[in-house]
């Protein structure tokens, strides 16, 4: 079969359809333009979808979480009866710790509200937080001379009361949750009429460790644990990451071995984080006997996880230093090491710092590997140093999100807001650093 030339093809075509190419093109133009607009709209819709998801996520969490920064309390005047508490103005801290403040508070409210029966009493006391006695204790430890005087303070309410006061109060009674009885609601409305029940800024959320009682649970312990863990991660991963980047970029011979190391680092950057948890468990805990749940162990695992990120960005920073700088330094008689450490490294530093901050931000939000190495333990105490058991903010969020109480849900969102603000600060710093210090050659 002979191949028809283009000319004859067109001629046949025109003869068959009676249309010129030009006609065909013009006829199809409207369709093609419509397709163009459609395609463009799909693109816009995709970007919009992404941005809307972001907005939805933020508003959802912010709307759930902002209430966590407020806590309901009852303005209470109470006399610190020294005879009842067995305390004098000269009592030691230990004596104060063992005094029966809960009893004192119960006696006070029994007198004030006059509950009729034993079950009424129980219902009344349920309105108060179990941390109320602890509040007075703290005040007395700070100032023991308060014994026998009358003090007025914001007494913590139970989380059910807190949730009711913040959210359900306006709803009709039929809709309110069934966690509060009519009698309890009656007492609460009495207090509201007396203008004693109010919300205040929730300082405890920032000063307390974890607790089983939502109104007493705070993120101080988790934040401290996070900071300690990140400190270990930074101290280890920054020097090691930069040293590795310098070696690979400046000193490594171009051979098979170096290539393997490079491929290895690139792959390691994409290994699921949970695998690092397995590594930490099998190697650090079971072979080296590092104790579980500690910031030290968490920091070690996160170091291995962030190292590839830091190495890759540090290498990019070194690569961006122009060869002319190196050549000038060589020309002045500098040795290879002097060129690298005196000239290339300072110039690459802003890029390296940016990469490190981004790596740290990644480590800050990481949860999965820390679950494996015991950082899910319920830790009430605020960790003092890197070998104390502790938890970290993302794990705290994970733990709280599992709790059935509504107040914990609110606190989870509150903790997420704190975590996100940390991340925003870190990433903004990275962006500013990059804008300010990074040079374009």
């Amino acid at each position: 079969m002979t191949k028809p030339t283009a000319n004859t093809m067109t001629n046949n075509f025109e003869k068959n359809s009676g249309l010129t190419t030009r006609d065909k093109v013009e006829k199809s133009l409207a369709r093609r333009r419509a397709k163009e607009t459609r395609f463009r709209l799909y693109g816009m819709a995709s970007v919009l979808f992404g941005v809307l998801c972001l907005i939805a996520l933020f508003t959802d969490i912010a709307s759930k979480g902002t209430a966590a920064f407020k806590q309901t309390s009852l303005t209470t005047s109470i006399t610190l009866d020294g005879d009842y508490l067995n305390l004098t103005k000269d009592s030691t801290v230990d004596e104060i710790r063992f005094a029966n403040f809960d009893g004192l508070i119960k006696r006070h409210f029994a007198k004030e509200m006059k509950p009729k029966s034993r079950s009424d009493k129980r219902e009344l006391f349920k309105l108060l937080s179990s941390g109320a006695g602890w509040q007075i204790q703290e005040m007395l430890i700070a100032d023991p001379t308060l014994v026998n005087s009358s003090i007025t303070f914001e007494l913590l309410m139970d989380d059910d009361v807190d949730q009711w006061f913040k959210h359900d109060r306006q709803l009709s009674t039929a809709e309110t949750n069934d966690r509060l009885s009519d009698k309890q609601l009656n007492w609460l409305s009495q207090w509201i009429e007396q203008d004693r029940l109010d919300t205040h800024f929730n300082t405890l959320f920032f000063t307390n460790g974890d607790s089983r009682e939502p109104e007493l649970a705070g993120i101080h312990g988790a934040i401290k644990g996070t900071l300690l863990t990140l400190m270990v991660t930074l101290i280890l991963s920054f020097p090691i990451g930069i040293a590795a980047a310098i070696y690979l970029e400046e000193f490594a011979p171009r051979n098979k071995l170096t290539e393997i190391v490079e491929i290895n680092i690139n792959n390691l950057a994409a290994v699921p984080s949970i695998i690092f948890g397995l590594l930490g468990m099998a190697i650090f805990i079971n072979i080296f006997g590092v104790s579980r749940s500690t910031p030290l162990l968490g920091g070690l695992v996160l170091t291995l996880m962030t190292l590839p990120t830091i190495i890759i960005s540090a290498r990019a920073a070194i690569k961006s230093v122009p060869p002319s700088i190196r050549e000038a330094a060589y020309g002045l008689g500098a040795s290879k090491n002097q060129v690298v450490f005196h000239h290339v490294l300072p110039l690459a530093m802003p890029g390296m710092l940016t990469g490190t901050i981004i790596g740290m931000a990644q480590a800050l939000g990481e949860t999965a590997p820390l679950l494996m190495i015991g950082m899910v333990a319920f830790v009430v105490d605020v960790p003092g140093f890197i070998n104390d058991p502790s938890t970290v903010l993302p794990v705290q969020i994970f733990l709280w999100s599992d709790s059935p109480e509504r107040a914990f849900l609110e606190r989870t969102s509150g903790a997420i807001l704190v975590l996100l603000s940390f991340l925003i600060v870190m990433n903004t710093t990275a962006v500013i650093l990059r804008r300010r210090l990074e040079r374009r050659w």
């Binding site: 040293a243 590795a244 939000g365």
Partner: protein, 457 residues
């Protein structure tokens, strides 16, 4: 003296050595001798020789102390105990530690030799450790100090040490990989001694219960991982159905259509999605998206599980959008302008150019990007741990509850567990499968992307 105070002492000596070396070199050169190197190079050399060996010793000691002491303690336990199972020995050892810490109160006389041995060991190792580290520090200090002379090639020697340290640092990444492989392989091997690998890979029933007594009914537990693999695939598939078209279209729009102003704000906004911690996505999926889907399903008359695969997959898809979009953005930008110009010159519209020229040219890179995104989806843990279920259902219905490999690893390993039960080991076997799958995906994807880049460089 504990580890941190020893560390501080060594660091102080190290700083002192620097000044000592520098001053000594200065003094010699003041005598009119011509030194090979600069004074601060002598100082740095001194500091390196003083600090590095002692620091290596300290860290190695810190790492090896516990395993060695444990080994010595086991030898001191009663003979009957030594023959017991590893888990029991472990328990006894920790009992010994507690007894030694509380000093004196001993409920179990058979442990007394071990406790006493531990107390003695603790004293001895402390003395030995600090003594060895400090004397190593000082010996190196003195030896290097004596060596300082005009002929000592301090700069060359110092640079050699520094290079060795740099090399060692880049070795950490390799050691990490070896560590991962070793730990996962070893535990998985132990698991496959108990459970047939074929049953594990192709079995369809997953219920990793381990009996407390050997004669208990259903004591064996079943470890067929197919429902897990299916669940992982289902959730990843849902995620990719969301992420690939949206991510790809976003990348096309941002790189080909959007004005620089839109690009300036939309691109970072999408990247913020990638920076949000996965635990936040998990919370969003479990407490907002899942109930939403459930209500929607109820309105439509569908029976939606409260831990549906759809909710987890949907949110995971949102998380992955920025990965796909920023990777494809890079790839699309790497397509040479000349190809586009040629297509426009032939009269093609922008859309035709993109679909028939740019995308085919960028296809390998896009495939690589998608593979990386898939590997991300498979390895994602927190979203599924919070929003997907635990029940190992073998189903393709996205409204049902499924479980994934990562969820099972977390549930099997969180909390206290004995280390040699098949239940724990199963997690490592799953980890091995996960690691190998993602490794292969990443490896191939990176190779494709690299090849593609070279094509247009």
């Amino acid at each position: 003296m504990n580890f941190s105070s020893l560390l501080i002492i060594v660091l102080i000596v190290l700083a002192g050595a620097y000044f000592l070396g520098r001053n000594r070199a200065r003094a010699i050169s003041h005598q009119g001798m011509r030194m090979h190197s600069l004074p601060n190079q002598y100082g740095t050399l001194m500091a390196l020789w003083t600090g590095v060996p002692a620091l290596i010793l300290l860290v190695a000691w810190q790492l090896l102390e516990t395993p060695i002491i444990n080994h010595l303690l086991i030898a001191k336990l009663p003979a009957a105990m030594q023959a017991a199972e590893p888990a029991i020995i472990e328990l006894t050892i920790s009992k010994v530690y507690n007894l030694a810490a509380s000093a004196g109160i001993n409920a179990d006389p058979s442990l007394t030799p071990a406790v006493e041995h531990l107390i003695a060991l603790n004293e001895r190792t402390l003395l030995l450790n600090s003594g060895m580290a400090l004397s190593l520090c000082l010996i190196c200090l003195v030896v290097t100090y004596k060596r300082i002379s005009p002929n000592l090639r301090a700069r060359v020697e110092m640079e050699k040490i520094v290079n060795a340290l740099l090399l060692a640092s880049s070795g950490v990444a390799v050691l990490t990989t070896i560590g991962i492989l070793a730990s996962v392989l070893l535990e998985a091997w132990m698991f496959f001694q108990i459970v047939n690998p074929l049953d594990f890979l192709f079995g369809t029933s997953w219920s990793p219960q381990v009996a407390l007594r050997a004669d208990q009914a259903g004591s064996s537990g079943s470890f067929g991982a197919v429902p897990l693999f299916a669940g992982t695939v289902l959730i990843s598939l849902i995620a990719m159905i969301i992420a690939v078209p949206i991510g790809l279209m976003s990348a096309i729009y941002l790189s080909e259509y959007a004005s620089s102003n839109v690009r300036k704000y939309a691109k970072p906004a999408l990247e913020v999605l990638a920076g949000i911690p996965t635990v936040v996505y998990g919370f969003f999926a479990a407490l907002t998206v899942a109930p939403l889907i459930r209500t929607l399903g109820a309105d439509l008359g569908l029976d939606v599980s409260s831990e549906s695969a759809l909710a987890a997959g949907l949110v995971m898809g949102i998380m992955i959008i920025p990965f796909v979009s920023s990777l494809s953005d890079d790839v699309i930008n790497a397509v040479p302008q000349s190809l586009r110009d040629g297509s426009f010159g032939l009269g093609a519209t922008k859309n035709e150019t993109i679909r028939q020229v740019v995308i085919p040219a960028a296809l390998p890179g896009i495939v690589g990007a998608i593979m990386l995104a898939v590997s991300r989806a498979i390895g994602e843990t927190m979203i599924v741990a919070m929003a997907a279920g635990l029940a190992a259902n073998l189903t393709a219905n996205p409204l049902d509850s499924v479980t994934t490999v990562t969820v099972q690893i977390v549930t099997l390993l969180v909390g206290d567990q004995e280390f040699d039960s098949p239940k724990t080991l199963a997690a490592f076997a799953l980890g091995l499968v996960l690691f190998l799958t993602t490794l292969i995906l990443n490896f191939v994807a990176l190779k494709i992307v690299q090849k593609y880049r070279e094509q247009y460089d």
